[in-house]
Amino acid sequence: MAKNDLQGTLDLLVLKTLAQMGRLHGYGIVQHIHRASDDLLRVEEGSLYPALHRMEQSGWIGSEWALTETGRKAKYYKLTVAGKKRLEAAEKDFEELVRGVRAMLRYA
């Protein structure tokens, strides 16, 4: 699969996470995806942070430094209005992709 598709999927996962959890830092996003996918998906930190910064550049998420429950400083991300729209579009694209792949696999 080409890099773009993978990147698109990662974006989708991050945006969905933030939609579900509201505010979250990078580490938290990794953990959430891992848990919510029943341990099936592991996000590489090396891919996550560039993706986060890229999405921030594109205006889909916003960031701010804040303290965690344990008093550590961390950079929290949250969804923007544009991000919500982007999430809807990405979800639709993904559904289409899955349907297409399934149809192909079932073809006799």
Partner: protein, 883 residues
């Protein structure tokens, strides 16, 4: 967020860097925290987190890249990286920069000349519609377009209907006295509307009006800016003052603007004051016509229309106008017609050199790209994207090209001075503009920038493609050694070399043809001996040497010749009216006694030259038949004439001309002259120009105000200028000297364009040869390195060293041959473009083509020899072990 943030990030680079580091660190800390809560020890947790996290530096880099605002930050990083890389291969960098500097420099220099001469906008109103009108008389043997008759002018102005305005003008040299030492001024008599056609107004004062421009009108004159500044010291009150020209008082009406210089070197403009009777004068051709085309009318249309009108005139006046052809020349061509093609050819040659330089650089770059496999792989592993790599290598190309460009501009700036040799200043009637300086200005710098970018793109494309493919290959985890990428890259390098060889061959053949033409022109011989010969020209002012007093003119000439010969170091002296190679000449019609009178009533035309008896001897022009002139041929004795070889061959092919008589007058008023001798031909218009039929008579029998003294000296002619001037002024102290120049210089100037062009094109060809040599060497050397293993195997299996040598040389030869064949095709197709620089050399000269091909193949073989020897010297054991 978005653009604003990106721009802000530019400024806060370090801050962003720190922030990202903090974020990544906090991620690790949180992971450690959780692991510790789950029961791990702090150290273990930290180690696990680090392992999971991967390389923080790499992550930081890619994260930063996502932040990279507008790509500018990235570009600067790329530049620094490129510079570091290049410092590690200084040989490569220096070679490429030098090569590009030479290529860009050559192009910039020639372009600056092209811009200054061909592209500079003419400072006249709507100059695209200004044309000059000439008459040529092929029926009279005179095919060069020349001045027209006032009668023709009047008819055309009335009837042609294609011009908005038409203005007559003619040469009117005058002597200025009473303002410092007497000066001979180049003057031009122009009608009142002449300057308005050009759209030029005086910087001071005013133009004369149509009413003032009539015979008997007020004697007024316009000065050139240069004359005003030098002779009149820039007098701000000059307008209205009187000056003395040819003994008469003229009022200065105005001073022309500094930049105004048409026709070139004119210093004074006076009213043309053509008499009404002039409009019925169809026999004297002295009017030079300037006109402005009506909107929408082209020069070609105007020419056709004028020829139709002229055909009617010729029908009504066959004796003067039969066979006249009218030529309409746009002003631009009038000014630079003779230098345009040479300059463009030079630009083409320089362009070829740049292409070869780029091919060379591309080839070198390809080799280097192949060597950087490891580096590319590592960078990819570190997370570099393909776009990033492409950008990086493009930046490297530019980092090499820009110093090359700057070096090129410096070279061009130094070289423009010697380009001035393309523009001789002392030969009249050449359509080459007067060029004082060739500036390297903004336009030229823009061109240099364009050439630099083009070079970067051209030389970077091939390595770039290579790197992109390597990036893909690494991504697909293929082995980078000995793959299809390698073979394709080799093919590309071979293609580069073939291109180089082909282009070099084209340059070599062009240089061969042009240099051969130059040699032929040089050896063509002038018909006289220009060494140790001084030419000193004067124009006798008509007020002191009127035509009513011919004895005064004869006396003057004789006395000056005596004074010259009396000077030490002088062997002999002679005089003529129209000096060869000066660009001045006059003509006359003639009829041969006893021959049938032509139906038109007027005979053919020949050049009319007047000489003293010592002239032929002084010039070393042999007399082929009959006798030369002697002192006995003077006023009162029989009118005698001589003719030249061309005349004899054309009009007396089967009989001896000596003794025959020529009528130089007309049917009604004959003027008979007996031919007493035939002189050898002189190339009066240049070594590479055809000779005209010439008639010679003595200045004694036909006194003339324009006199050129030729003095044969024992020593260097230039040293004799002062004594010659003294001799002249000892006879007439008030006589201004028009020009004093060693004939050698004049002879050399007529070849100036050829000489400079030949030198430049030969230089370019030499450069191309060197570059092709380097290119072939590089490719062969690299191929040998790549095929070490294969060669080792061959040697181990029993091949002789000689076989290996032949194999490598053979592959080099194959490349060279393909290149030469393609180059020959290109040269054959394009050599016709050179025709304006060729002389007695055909555009498809088999000898030169063969010589160029042989030279190039020889160079290629020589370049391939060293790598071939190294290949033959390979130790098979070492080669195989290194596998």
């Amino acid at each position: 967020m978005g653009w604003l943030q990106r721009i802000r990030n530019l400024g806060r680079r370090d801050a962003v860097d720190a922030e990202i580091a903090a974020e990544l660190q906090s991620h690790i800390d949180l992971a450690v925290e959780e692991a510790v809560r789950a029961g791990m020890s702090e150290d273990e947790a930290r180690r696990a987190a680090r392992l999971r996290f991967g390389n923080p530096a790499a992550v930081k880099e890619t994260t930063m890249e996502a932040d990279a605002a507008l790509g500018i930050d990235g570009v600067w990083r790329d530049v620094r990286f490129a510079v570091r890389q290049l410092k590690r291969s200084p040989g490569f960098a220096v070679t490429v920069i030098a090569t590009l500097a030479l290529g860009i420099g050559a192009n910039t220099a020639i372009f600056s000349a092209v811009k200054a001469v061909l592209l500079a906008p003419l400072p006249y109103k709507d100059s695209g519609r200004i044309v000059a009108v000439w008459t040529s008389k092929p029926a009279r043997g005179e095919s060069e377009p020349s001045a027209s008759s006032p009668g023709d002018f009047a008819v055309w102005k009335q009837k042609a209907g294609v011009f908005e305005d038409m203005a007559p003008s003619y040469d009117d040299e005058m002597t200025l006295t009473g303002s410092g030492s007497p000066q001979f001024l180049i003057g031009y008599a122009v009608s009142a509307n002449y300057l308005s056609i050009l759209g030029v107004a005086p910087a001071m004062g005013r133009l004369y009006t149509d009413e003032e421009d009539r015979p008997g009108g007020p004697p007024v004159v316009l000065l050139s800016d240069h004359l005003w500044r030098t002779t009149f010291d820039g007098d701000p009150e000059i307008v209205g003052k009187a000056i003395t020209l040819d003994g008469k008082r003229y009022t200065v009406l105005g001073v022309m603007p500094r930049a105004f210089n048409y026709p070139t070197s004119v210093q004074i403009w006076t009213p043309s004051a053509l008499t009404p009777s002039a409009s019925s004068d169809f026999s004297h051709t002295f009017v030079r016509i300037l006109a402005r085309l009506k909107p929408g009318v082209s020069a070609a249309t105007a020419q056709a229309a004028l020829n139709r009108v002229e055909a009617q005139v010729a029908a009504a006046r066959p004796d003067t106008d039969h066979g006249n052809r009218v030529v309409v020349t746009p002003l631009r061509e009038q000014l630079d017609g003779d230098i345009r093609m040479p300059l463009l050819i030079l630009l083409g040659a320089a362009g070829l050199v740049l292409l070869i330089a780029c091919a060379n650089t591309a080839g070198l770059g390809l080799a280097r790209a192949a060597e950087r496999h490891a580096e590319v792989a590592v960078r990819l592993a570190l997370g570099a994207t393909r776009t990033h790599l492409v950008r990086q290598f493009m930046t490297e190309s530019l980092v090499l090209a820009i110093p090359g460009g700057m070096g090129g501009v410096l070279l061009a700036w130094a070289g423009t001075h010697s380009l001035l040799r393309l523009f001789p200043t002392d030969v009249a009637n050449l359509r080459i503009p007067v060029v004082q300086a060739i500036p390297v200005d903004r336009g030229v710098l823009l061109f240099a920038l364009g050439a630099t970018v083009l070079s970067a793109v051209l030389s970077g494309l091939a390595p770039l493609w290579r790197v992109a493919r390597a990036a893909d290959a690494a991504r697909m985890k293929e082995s980078a050694r000995g793959t299809t990428a390698g073979a394709a890259s080799n093919r590309m390098r071979s293609a580069m070399v073939i291109v180089e060889v082909a282009l070099s061959l084209m340059l070599l053949t062009a240089a061969g043809l042009i240099v051969a033409s130059f040699e032929k022109a040089m050896n063509a011989g002038l018909g006289f001996e220009p060494d140790h010969l001084l030419s000193i020209e004067v124009l006798l002012p008509l007020n002191r040497y009127p035509s009513s007093n011919p004895q005064k003119r004869q006396q003057f000439t004789e006395n000056v010749l005596l004074a010259m010969v009396a000077k030490p170091g002088v062997l002999m002296a002679g005089a003529t009216n129209y000096e060869p190679l000066s660009g001045f000449w006059g003509t006359t019609n003639f009829l041969v006694r006893g021959d049938a009178v032509p139906a038109l009533g007027v005979g053919p035309e020949a050049d009319d030259r007047l000489i003293t008896p010592g002239y032929f001897a002084t010039m070393h022009i042999p007399v082929l038949r009959g006798r030369g002139f002697t002192a006995a041929d003077r006023t009162g004795s029989e009118p005698v004439a001589m003719i030249n070889e061309t005349f004899a061959k054309e009009y007396f092919p089967s009989r001896d001309p000596v003794g025959l008589e020529l009528n130089l007058g007309s049917g009604q008023k004959p003027n008979w002259w007996r031919i007493v001798g035939v002189a050898a031909d002189v190339k009066s218009f240049g070594r590479d120009q055809p000779t005209h039929a010439e008639i010679f008579r003595t200045l004694e029998q036909v006194p003339f105000p324009l006199i050129a003294f030729n003095v044969r000296t024992r020593v260097d002619a230039a040293a004799f200028v002062k004594p010659a001037e003294e001799a002249l002024w000892s006879v007439d102290p008030d006589l201004p000297i028009f020009q004093a120049i060693p004939m050698e210089e004049l002879a050399s100037q007529t070849l100036a364009v050829r000489r400079a062009s030949s030198a430049l094109v030969a230089g370019f060809a030499g450069l191309a040869l060197v570059l092709a040599c380097i290119g072939i060497y590089g490719v062969m050397a690299y191929a040998v390195t790549q095929r070490r293993a294969e060669i080792g195997v061959r040697l181990a299996l029993g091949a002789q060293r000689g076989d290996v040598l032949r194999m490598v040389l053979g592959s080099g030869l194959r490349l060279a041959l393909i290149g030469v064949l393609i180059g020959l095709a290109g040269a054959l197709a394009s050599s016709r473009l050179l025709h304006s620089l060729l002389f007695q050399v055909s555009a498809i000269n088999p000898f030169i083509f063969a010589a160029a091909a042989a030279a190039l193949i020889g160079v290629c073989l020589a370049a391939a020899y060293l790598p071939a020897r190294r290949a033959a010297a390979i130790d098979p054991m070492r080669a195989l072990r290194a596998e």
